[in-house]
C-alpha cells in the first residue's frame, strides 16, 4: 500500500500544470482517487464530509450487484446447456465458465465505452471524472440479454453517457437513470434483439442441436403473447415456470434480472449500508402488487388473471425496483416523495406490462417516466410541508 502511494505521489507532478501530460490530469486524478481517499478538507459552507466519499458509496452498489451478476453468469450457461440438452453432463463450473465467457466481454465493452466517453468530457470540460459510471457500467450489462451484439452495447453506453448525463452537466445532474436509458435506447432501436424470445445464447457447435420443444421465450414474453390474445390463461400458466423457479431464477431472461433471490441479497446489502432507499423498494413492490390485484378483478386478458405475486417475479420488475428505482440522483429526495414515487412506479409498470403487450418490460418505462416526475413530486411535498408548518405557527 505504502509503495503504491509513493508511486502515485511520485508520478503526480507529470500530470499537473506544467508537467509532461497536463491533458491527462483528469485521467490520472480519477485513478488516484480510485486508489486513495484524498485529504481534502471542506473550506466553505456547513457541509459534512463523510469518510465515505461518492466513489466508496458506488462501491457498495457494485458489491450489492455481485450476487445478481454471478448468478446471471451461471444462468447464461445453464440456459444454454438446457437448450441443447446437455445440462445433465455439465456441472455448475462448466455452466459458469460458459456464462462468464459470454457476459464478461459485455461488461468490458460497457466500461471501456462509457469510461472513454467520461474521460473525454472530463478533459474537455476540466472537471473530475465522475464515479457514477462505475455503477452504470455494471448495471447496463445486467439489463441486457446475453445475445446482444457488443457494438450495440458500446453504442448504447455512449448514447446513455452523453444524452443521459453529460448533456445535463455530468454525474448528479442527470434527469433520467443513464443505465436504463441505455436499455431503453436499445429496446427501441433494435427491437428484434429485445423481444424476449432470443435471450438464450444458442449458437451451436458441430454435433449439437436444440432439444425438441425448445422455445426459449422468457416468462414475460409468454405473458405478453397471452396479453396479445394468442394464448388462453391455462396455456400461459403452463408455459410459465413455477413460482419457486422464478424466485431462484434458473429461467430465461436478461443477465441480471432472473433471480429474485440474488436481487434480494443485493437489496439487503443496499439497505444495510444505507445506500439504497428501503422506502422506494418497498413502495414499488406494494404499488405493483396492488395494481396487479386490481387488474385481477377486471381480468380482461389472460395476463390480468395471473396471480398478483407472479408479477413481482416476472421480468425485470424486482431488479428495477431494487437497483434502478433507488438511484439517489434521479429518485425523489423527500421521505414522503419516495413513497409516492415508488408506488407510482409499481402501478405504472404493471399497467404498461399488462395492458400493452407491445411493451412487456413496463418497469423500464415506468422508472424513466417517474424519474422525470421526481422533482415535481419533491416540489409539492416541500410546499405541503411549508404550508403545514405555517399553519402550526399561526395556531400557536
Amino acid at each position: 500500500m505504502k509503495a503504491l502511494n509513493n508511486l502515485v505521489n511520485k508520478i503526480k507532478p507529470n500530470f499537473e500544470k506544467g508537467g509532461k501530460f497536463p491533458k491527462l490530469y483528469r485521467t490520472f486524478e480519477a485513478f488516484e482517487t480510485f486508489l486513495f481517499v484524498q485529504g481534502n478538507v471542506t473550506r466553505k459552507g456547513s457541509h459534512i464530509r463523510d469518510a465515505i466519499d461518492m466513489k466508496r458509496t458506488m462501491f457498495f452498489v457494485i458489491i450489492a450487484l455481485i450476487p445478481a451478476m454471478i448468478f446471471g453468469m451461471w444462468n447464461v450457461g445453464n440456459q444454454h446447456y438446457l437448450a441443447i440438452g446437455l445440462e445433465e453432463q455439465k456441472g455448475i463450473i462448466d455452466e459458469f465458465i460458459f456464462g462468464f465467457l459470454k457476459v464478461f466481454p459485455i461488461i468490458v465493452v460497457t466500461y471501456v465505452a462509457g469510461l472513454a466517453t467520461e474521460f473525454v468530457f472530463a478533459t474537455m470540460r476540466d472537471h473530475e471524472v465522475n464515479e457514477g459510471f462505475l455503477v452504470s457500467g455494471m448495471l447496463i450489462p445486467l439489463t441486457l440479454p446475453v445475445t446482444t451484439p457488443l457494438w450495440m452495447v458500446a453504442l448504447a453506453t455512449i448514447f446513455a453517457v452523453i444524452i443521459g448525463k453529460e448533456v445535463f452537466g455530468g454525474t448528479g445532474m442527470n434527469i433520467v437513470n443513464p443505465a436504463l436509458l441505455a436499455r431503453a435506447f436499445l429496446f427501441f432501436a433494435y427491437p428484434a434483439y429485445f423481444s424476449g424470445e432470443v435471450y438464450i445464447y444458442t449458437t451451436l457447435q458441430e454435433g449439437q442441436a436444440l432439444i425438441d420443444g425448445f422455445s426459449g421465450a422468457t416468462p414475460l414474453a409468454v405473458g405478453a403473447l397471452a396479453a396479445g390474445g394468442e394464448m388462453t390463461y391455462n396455456e400461459m400458466y403452463n408455459a410459465m415456470p413455477s413460482i419457486m423457479e422464478m424466485f431462484i431464477g434458473n429461467i430465461p431472461g436478461v443477465i441480471g434480472e432472473t433471480s429474485a433471490l440474488a436481487i434480494l441479497l443485493g437489496a439487503v446489502i443496499l439497505v444495510a449500508t444505507g445506500v439504497g432507499s428501503l422506502r422506494i423498494m418497498l413502495s414499488v413492490f406494494v404499488g405493483g402488487f396492488l395494481m396487479a390485484s386490481v387488474l385481477n378483478i377486471f381480468a380482461v386478458n389472460p395476463l390480468m388473471e395471473l396471480p398478483a405475486y407472479y408479477h413481482i417475479f416476472l421480468g425485470g420488475f424486482a431488479f428495477g425496483a431494487v437497483f434502478m428505482a433507488t438511484d439517489p440522483v434521479t429518485a425523489s429526495q423527500t421521505g414522503t416523495g419516495k413513497y409516492i414515487y415508488g408506488l407510482l412506479i409499481g402501478i405504472i409498470a404493471i399497467l404498461i406490462r399488462v395492458l400493452n403487450p407491445a411493451y412487456p418490460e413496463g418497469i423500464m418505462l415506468a422508472i424513466l417516466f417517474m424519474n422525470i416526475f421526481a422533482p415535481l413530486i419533491d416540489h409539492y411535498v416541500i410546499q405541503a410541508n411549508i404550508k403545514r408548518r405555517l399553519k402550526r405557527l399561526k395556531a400557536a
Binding site: 451484439p149 457494438w151 450495440m152 444524452i163 448533456v167 435506447f185 427501441f188 432501436a189 433494435y190 427491437p191 428484434a192
Partner: protein
C-alpha cells in the same frame, strides 16, 4: 413601392445580407428561437420529404412576407392576424396543389403537414415581427432567410435520421451491404420522432458550444 426603396440603398447592402444570413446562423428560428419543432419531428424521417418541405416553406414564407409587406399600410391592425392567415393559407393551398401535381408520392408522404405549414409559428412570427413594419425587399429577404434557416436544420435532421434509420439518402442505399453482413443494423429509434428531438437538441448543443454568446443564463 419596392423600386423606390431599393434605389436608396443597394439591393444587397450589408444590412440586407444580414437579414438573409442571420436566421441561418445565430438567429436560427429552430435552434435559437425554438420554433417550428412540431413539423421537424413529423417529416424528417427521409431527406426527400425534408427537402420538399424546406422548399415549400421557403416559397410560402418569402411570398407571404412580400404580400403582407405590400398590404402593411392598408391592413387594419385589429384584423391583421386574420388577414395574415388568409394570405398564408392561400399560398399553402397553392403549394399543396403544385406538390400534388408534380411530386405526388412525396406529397402523400407529407400528408397533412403541408396543410399545417399554415400553423407554422415561424411564418406567423415573421409576418408579425417583420413584414408588418418593413419595406418589401427586406421583408422578402427576411422571409427567405428564416425559411432557409428552418430548412437547413430540417435537412440536417433528415440526413441523420435517414442515414442511420434506413441506411439510405434520398432513397439510395449509402451504407454498403458489407456492413450489414458484419452485423450492422439500422437504428429503429431514428425512425421514431423522439430521435428528431434529440438530434435537434444535439445541433443546438453544438451551435451554442461554438457560439458562446447564444448561451443565456437566466
Amino acid at each position: 413601392m419596392s423600386n423606390n426603396n431599393s434605389q436608396q440603398e443597394p439591393l444587397f447592402s450589408l444590412k440586407n445580407k444580414r437579414l438573409l444570413s442571420n436566421p441561418i446562423g445565430k438567429d436560427n428560428p429552430i435552434t435559437v428561437q425554438v420554433l417550428g419543432i412540431c413539423s421537424i419531428l413529423a417529416i424528417t424521417v427521409q431527406v426527400k420529404a425534408s427537402l420538399v418541405m424546406a422548399v415549400s416553406v421557403v416559397a410560402v414564407m418569402g411570398l407571404a412576407n412580400v404580400i403582407i409587406s405590400i398590404l402593411r399600410k392598408t391592413i387594419p391592425p385589429r384584423i391583421r392576424i386574420i388577414v395574415q392567415l388568409v394570405v398564408i393559407s392561400s399560398l399553402v393551398i397553392l403549394v399543396d396543389q403544385i406538390l400534388k401535381a408534380f411530386v405526388y408520392d412525396v406529397s402523400r408522404q407529407l400528408s397533412v403537414f403541408v396543410g399545417l405549414i399554415i400553423t407554422n409559428c415561424i411564418i406567423m412570427g415573421r409576418l408579425e415581427a417583420f413584414a408588418l413594419n418593413n419595406k418589401v425587399w427586406p421583408s422578402f429577404l427576411d422571409g427567405v432567410g428564416n425559411a432557409a434557416g428552418y430548412g437547413a436544420i430540417l435537412l440536417v435532421v433528415g440526413i441523420v435520421r435517414e442515414l442511420f434509420g434506413a441506411g439510405t439518402l434520398m432513397g439510395h442505399q449509402v451504407i454498403p451491404q458489407a456492413f450489414y453482413d458484419l452485423g450492422y443494423e439500422n437504428n429503429g429509434l431514428m425512425i421514431l420522432p423522439p430521435m428528431a428531438l434529440i438530434t435537434v437538441g444535439i445541433i443546438i448543443w453544438i451551435h451554442r458550444a461554438r457560439d458562446r454568446e447564444l448561451i443565456d443564463v437566466s
